[in-house]
């Protein structure tokens, strides 16, 4: 069996060893303690978890987030989501081939008390991510009783997948700190609140007429919670994309990839291709490089990547080819992705015939935007609950904005409950708006003519909400407007300064966009300090590295003079290079990836046919062509598409396809105000009948394992 565990990582360390034996089709494998089945299988090189009952196509992970049900396996005879179920000792895991037989295993005991009683906290918070945790902290400080539920086995939401330092405000939302470390801080502060009860591995299932929420607690018992106020902080789910081959194992969401790589330290592939140039796609690409994975390229359908420029620059500098105004039209492969076919798009995002190219890769990451997880919010409103939302569940934005959003909403709820008297400062809302703002104007960096002294060079050209460089400068030389942290940082280049070359600004910058240029020893050669978040073994003193400018253009090869690390900035290595004076201020990064040029794709491509073959509803295997057929026959109600084709009636309940169905209406020239939305129904996650019946001892741990 191949071992796909990441043994060394510039940021992450994991000392646990895979010592839990389990079986995959009778073959003995090992998992780490508490590891999810999907990660354990990937670590052992197994990517196909079964075959779909409708078309017998191979299935593996897709969301790795408990939402899509593509990763279903039989664990001790019972169907479970591999991404949400931890391996247990001696567990028999088997693929699901088509429809499985009604499982007859497992032991139960009838519940003594058949009637469910309500838990009645002041506030029920759904979601233990940045928004939910910061709301819990605010409310907990005021002694408000809270139940906080999260479906994962740890708190932090998607922060636990983020190895990079965060943008935003240092003072308000931990900017300059890595996501994984922010998660820890928020968790510790939440756990310190005595009035906050945390339910992990607990999934909200439905909101009922009596204003209660049904919750699968700890994956085994059913509970009803009837709070005074419901806070929906359920975050976001990833949008999907229609192209032929989009159900192949190896095509999955960026979140799934980050889960495998950054949470579970599993290397799921060797050669990654990314679809989508927003922050999620850009960051995932960078995380891949950190995990030692080759990134074959990134396509973005728009003329420009929509994510932060500093994130994009990180990829460009590392050598990742970026294809804008380009889309993926096909993933090729039988049981796994072998190649993608990309094509340029016109102004209407339609592929242009003759522009097709092939790129070899073994995984395609879909990072084409996020949708709020808002089904609980909508249902709660329908039944007249007192309900709030925060973070991505309310509006898609950066995690820093979610933290602040949670703080505001937490205080709003406190006011409603009479636990906070004073009004919420107006500046908070303004500040939240700043944190939520999309990347702004480009400002060209100042030209650095000065060949003397020492100073930081800011490769920071775009207005984004970010301020850590200004807060760590011990001499207060770097400044950013306090009222609007979207401004570009300023440094008094024209003056003689007392910069002490401490390199804190270099270490803290989330965009890795600050270098330090030091002409104090020589006017011909400068010492350039660069931040480096990759394997430090590759850049030991004496090594030659290829340096690039901000756009990834190669400037030359330079020798590493020395490396250093500042205390409190773990994971960030500072490379000190000696550079000729004309190059010194231009150096922005180190090239890591060398990519092959795309191959020509000479088969003739019928884009219309391709577009019709793409799967829209993954659960029920409904194609775009089938849905288009109904739209063209006059159907304007998504409920009819559901009724006729079963689209959105599968395990996930339309979490992936409903957005794509809307896009199909638009592509047929039908304005969405003429289209009736589908009725979305609970339960939002499948749950065993035995659990709902209140049977105790529900555990497949005790299963006979036939």
């Amino acid at each position: 069996m191949p071992d796909n565990r990441i043994k060394s990582h510039p940021i992450l360390t994991d000392k646990s060893t895979p010592n839990i034996p389990f079986y995959w089709e009778k073959q003995k494998l090992f998992a780490k303690p508490g590891e999810m089945i999907s990660s354990a299988l990937f670590a052992n090189g197994i990517h196909i978890f079964g075959h779909h009952p409708k078309d017998n196509s191979p299935q593996g992970i897709y969301c790795a987030n408990g939402q899509c049900s593509q990763c279903l396996v039989l664990a001790n005879g019972i169907p479970v989501k591999a991404c949400m179920t931890a391996v247990e000792e001696e567990m028999q895991v088997n693929p699901i081939e088509g429809l499985y037989a009604l499982p007859e295993v497992g032991s139960y005991r009838s519940s003594k008390n058949a009637d469910l009683s309500y838990e009645e906290p002041d506030v029920l918070i759904l979601g233990g991510g940045p928004a939910g945790l910061s709301a819990a902290i605010e409310l907990g400080k005021l002694g408000v009783s809270i139940i906080l539920v999260d479906d994962k086995d740890r708190l932090g939401g998607k922060l636990v997948l983020q190895t990079h330092r965060f943008f935003g405000s240092s003072e308000a939302v931990y900017a300059g700190t890595r996501g994984i470390d922010i998660a820890k801080k928020l968790e510790d502060e939440t756990r310190a609140q005595l009035s906050v009860e945390v339910w992990l591995r607990s999934t909200a299932l439905a909101v009922f007429e009596d204003k209660s929420v049904g919750i699968l607690r700890d994956n085994k018992t059913y509970r009803l919670v009837k709070p005074k106020v419901l806070l929906v902080a359920t975050g976001a789910r990833e949008k999907s994309l229609a192209f032929v081959g989009n159900t192949l194992p190896g095509v999955y969401g960026a979140g799934a990839f980050q889960t495998l790589v950054n949470r579970d330290l599993v290397k799921p592939c060797k050669n990654l291709f990314i679809v989508g140039g927003g922050n999620v796609g850009l960051i995932a690409g960078y995380h891949a490089i950190q995990a030692g994975i080759h990134v074959a390229g990134l396509v973005e359908a728009a003329p420009q990547c929509g994510g932060y420029k500093v994130h994009l620059d990180k990829l460009k500098r590392s050598g990742v080819p970026i294809f804008t105004s380009t889309t993926v039209v096909k993933a090729i492969g039988k049981d796994a992705v072998e190649k993608v076919v990309i094509a340029s798009v016109d102004d209407h995002f339609q592929p242009i015939p003759g522009t097709e190219q092939k790129i070899a890769c073994d995984t395609v990451l879909i990072a084409v935007g996020l949708d709020p997880v808002n089904e609980f919010l909508n249902k709660a409103r329908q039944v007249g609950m007192q309900v709030y939302s925060a973070g991505d569940a309310r509006e898609i934005a950066e995690a820093s904005a979610a933290i602040f959003s949670g703080k505001i909403v937490g205080n709003q709820i406190a006011m409603l409950l009479g636990k906070r008297q004073e009004a919420i400062p107006l500046e908070w809302a303004e500040f939240e708006a700043i944190l939520k703002s999309k990347p702004g104007n480009m400002r060209s960096a100042p030209s650095y003519q000065k060949l003397e002294g020492v100073y930081p060079v800011m490769h920071c050209e775009q207005e984004i909400p970010c301020d850590p460089c200004s807060t760590v400068c011990p001499k207060h030389l770097i400044t950013i407007s306090k009222t609007d942290i979207r401004n570009i940082p300023k440094f008094p280049y024209d003056e003689e300064t007392d910069c002490i070359a401490c390199a804190r600004c270099v270490s803290v910058c989330p965009g890795l966009a600050v270098t330090l240029v030091d002409f104090r020893k020589s006017k011909e050669h400068a010492l350039v300090t660069l931040p480096y978040e990759q394997d430090a073994e590759q850049v030991r003193p004496g090594t030659l590295v290829t340096v690039t400018d901000i756009d990834g253009e190669v400037l030359g090869q330079l020798k590493v003079i020395a490396t250093r690390k500042l205390p409190n900035y773990s994971g960030t290595t500072l490379l000190i290079l000696e550079a000729p004076k004309e190059m010194a201020t231009k150096i922005s990064g180190v090239k890591i990836i060398t990519s092959d040029r795309p191959e020509a794709f000479d088969e003739s491509v019928d884009f219309k046919k391709l577009a019709d073959e793409a799967i829209i509803c993954r659960c029920e295997r409904v194609t775009a062509g089938e849905i288009r057929g109904l739209i063209r026959s006059g159907v304007r109600d998504v409920n009819q598409i559901k009724a006729n084709l079963r689209a959105s009636m599968g395990a996930c309940g339309g979490k992936t396809c409903l957005t794509m169905i809307k896009r199909l209406f638009q592509s047929e020239g039908i304005p969405l105000d003429e289209v009736t939305d589908s009725t979305v129904r609970a339960v939002f996650v499948e749950v065993p009948i035995g659990v709902l019946a209140g049977l105790e001892e529900y555990s497949f741990k005790r299963a006979g394992g036939k």
Partner: protein, 384 residues
């Protein structure tokens, strides 16, 4: 000049849509009005899909037998798959009382020509894998009954109705029925007025309010029921199981496994919940899940996928109200199907089409007589 139709049907649900199809196919100019956004969006999509002729009332037996013929021959006639399967119905008995009442009914049902028999527990076990044998006394099995997809069926009726020339207007709530000289003249909606010779009230749970517009009181009022569907598993049961035992919160319940492998089930709330409620209750899932495990213990591991709530347009005796009414010419009732609109719909549509054509058979006449508005509502349907 307002448009004129032979027939205006109010409601494009389980009853209105097949009625429109039969009437349009008979050459009438038909308009269907619905307040909702497309066909079948009222109660049709809440139906679980069971179709049986095994009732206690002869008129219902007759109508549903017709429906079964239409459902079972649909694919052969029109080509589209409405997922009909002759899986049968089985009313199971776990106590003497239920056994006796089922066996008493068998006599009537056999007399009405139904293919139905009493089966031993061992015989039932063969068609329902995993059925709880403990205490099982046996049950009826009527193999010609079955189930189809209400969603697909309604769309199929709609497609054929439209093909035969029926017009459908959605988002048109009826606000007035104009009557002159004891005769229906026209129907007014939020968008327009439509003249017609016949007006069919097929408004399901909302039929009483519509009928009020015509000055006719119909004893139809909705009560709320809930249902669930599970993930699909390999086929393990053939018939729809009906369990008539009373349990906390429900007076009976029923479930079946459809062709795709999903288990679909529903219970009758006890006490009844009068009203048109759409939001799911917190009681339903635990209640029905306990009942499911009581009948098939291994269902404990099957996962519930979705749940929903809908209404039954109830009448005092559990049977529908069909046909013309005294004192208002041109007004036809197709209401009060008591949660059986889906299984009654095609049969009802066919009879009403014969009614306006004036070629009712003797049996059909008897049927409409039994189900007329001015009946006594004294004989309660035993297999609601």
């Amino acid at each position: 000049m307002d448009p004129t139709y032979d027939v205006v049907i109010i409601g494009s649900g389980s009853v209105g849509t097949p009625t429109a199809m039969f009437m349009a196919q008979a050459g009438y100019r038909v308009l269907v009005l619905d307040a909702l956004r497309s066909n079948g969006q009222g109660s049709n999509k809440h139906a679980i899909g069971g179709v049986r002729a095994t009732h206690s009332d002869p008129a219902k037996i007759y109508l549903c037998s017709d429906s079964i013929k239409i459902f079972s021959s649909w694919k052969g006639t029109y080509g589209d798959d409405i997922e009909w399967h002759s899986g049968g119905y089985s009313f199971v008995a776990y106590d003497k009382q239920v056994e006796h009442s089922l066996k008493d009914l068998l006599v009537i049902q056999k007399k009405a020509g139904l293919n139905i028999d009493w089966k031993t527990p061992e015989e039932l076990q063969k068609v329902v894998h995993g059925i709880n044998m403990q205490g099982l006394l046996g049950g009826t099995l009527s193999p010609e009954d079955g189930y189809a997809s209400p969603l697909k069926s309604n769309f199929a009726f709609y497609t054929q109705a439209a093909k035969a020339g029926a017009e459908f207007r959605f988002n048109e709530k009826v606000i007035a029925i104009h009557i002159d000289n004891h005769k229906v003249q026209s129907v007014q909606t939020v968008k327009g007025t439509y003249h017609c010779k016949w007006l069919v009230n097929a408004a399901g749970s909302w039929a009483a309010d519509i009928s009020k517009l015509a000055g006719i009181t119909v004893p139809v009022r909705p009560d709320s029921h809930e249902a669930l569907v599970t993930e699909p598993v390999a086929h393990f049961m053939e018939p729809m199981i009906v369990d008539l035992r009373r349990r906390s919160g429900s007076s009976n319940f029923y479930f079946y496994q459809n062709g795709d492998g999903h288990l679909i089930g529903c219970q009758t709330p006890d006490p009844q919940i009068w009203g048109d409620f759409q939001a799911e209750t917190s009681e339903f899932l635990p209640q029905i899940c306990r009942r499911l495990i009581e009948v098939i213990p291994s269902l404990k591991n099957l996962r519930v996928r979705r749940t929903w709530r809908g209404t039954y347009p109830m009448t005092p005796d559990g049977s529908p109200i069909l046909g013309e009414v005294a004192d208002l010419e041109g007004y036809i009732l197709a209401v009060g199907t008591c949660g059986q609109g889906f299984m009654l719909g095609p049969g009802v549509g066919q009879v009403l089409s014969h009614l306006i054509q004036g070629n009712l058979s003797t049996e059909e006449k008897a049927c409409l007589h039994d189900l007329r508005l001015d009946r006594s509502f004294g004989n309660e349907e035993k297999l609601r």
